[in-house]
């Protein structure tokens, strides 16, 4: 079997040059989708019967939560690839995924808490879903902290990849927390196989926001990774040319 593509994929230079062309499209898609979805969700969807207007927070809360979870897999898997094949590129992806995941889980927690006040009467409750989500944020922060801690970059990479892998246990706990424990948090209304338990009128803008968040995730993951690669490869000629020769 021809493994050349795999080794080429591990080359920072190849990755950098390949991904440059995708960036404007991903940026455009995220800006358009997120703007359309927000305007639609804020002004053009009717009020929720029980929750009033506070439920409009769903259009950022749910996509941020989905991506904070999906981003954990990105981080853990690229950390594992880095550990197994000692691929520099995949450690850079892991570090980028850690900072973006931290921002997304922070958004998820803050919007959730702001949504909780008018609907549940409290900003915070130590129940399963919220607590496990808070642990997710701490795991992301832990990976970021570890990746800056060791003086040798390789050992910092390995340590943070290990933490990322160990923290994977938390992911199924978050997914199933609303079913295992009877909690304040409502159960999942989006279904892949069966019909979703959400009104289609409310669902379309949510779908747009979810796709928009995915585009935003892909875009920022690439730009963060590319900057990390430039930093690590600053002694090489291609990185210097890239840094000094315009955008």
């Amino acid at each position: 079997m021809n493994w050349q593509w795999f080794h080429r994929l591990g080359s920072p230079r190849w990755f950098y040059q390949k991904t440059g062309a995708w960036l404007p499209w991903l940026a455009l898609a995220s800006v358009v989708l997120l703007s359309v979805g927000s305007v639609w969700g804020l002004g053009f969807v009717y009020e929720h019967g029980q929750q009033g207007n506070s439920y409009r927070i769903i259009y950022i809360h749910v996509p941020a939560a989905l991506l904070a979870l999906a981003g954990y897999y990105v981080m853990a898997i690229s950390g594992a690839i880095g550990l197994i094949w000692r691929m520099k590129l995949s450690f850079a992806v892991m570090r980028a995924a850690a900072s973006i995941g931290a921002v997304l889980s922070f958004i998820c927690l803050v919007t959730g808490s702001l949504w909780g006040k008018p609907t549940w009467g409290t900003y915070w409750e130590w129940e399963a879903r919220m607590t496990s989500m808070l642990i997710l944020l701490f795991l992301y922060i832990g990976v970021i902290a570890l990746s800056h801690a060791a003086s040798r970059e390789q050992s910092a990479d390995k340590a943070s990849a290990l933490l990322a892998l160990v923290g994977t246990v938390n992911i199924p706990i978050i997914y199933w927390s609303v079913n295992w424990w009877n909690s304040l948090h409502q159960r999942a209304t989006l279904r892949v196989i069966e019909e979703s338990r959400i009104d289609p009128v409310m669902f379309y803008p949510l779908l747009i926001m979810i796709i928009g968040f995915y585009c935003m995730y892909a875009w920022t993951l690439l730009t963060h990774t590319r900057t990390l690669l430039l930093k690590r490869e600053m002694r090489t000629k291609w990185a210097q040319d890239e840094l000094l020769g315009g955008r």
């Binding site: 053009f44 409009r56 006040k117």
Partner: protein, 80 residues
């Protein structure tokens, strides 16, 4: 599909929930913008770091060549 609010002030207050909704959206907006522009700032920092390094290296090279230029005649004289 039509706009759900009668006027701007109703859109802003959202029946008492406005503050929660708007703070959520504003906070998310700021966080996403920060996430998007951070690589650009980091890149600019790297650029100036690289320029500084190159300038230092150049200065060092020039200093070394000046030193050898002034010392070379002395060294040449001594053994003679």
């Amino acid at each position: 599909m039509e706009f759900q609010f009668a006027n701007l002030s109703e859109f802003l207050t959202m029946g008492g929930h406005g503050i929660f909704v708007w703070v959520s959206y504003l906070m998310t907006f700021l966080a996403l913008v920060g996430m998007a522009i951070y690589p650009r700032i980091a890149r600019r920092r790297l650029q100036s770091e690289l320029l500084r390094q190159q300038k230092n290296a150049q200065r060092r090279r020039r200093a070394v060549s000046e030193r050898t230029a002034t010392k070379a005649p002395d060294l040449a004289k001594e053994p003679a």
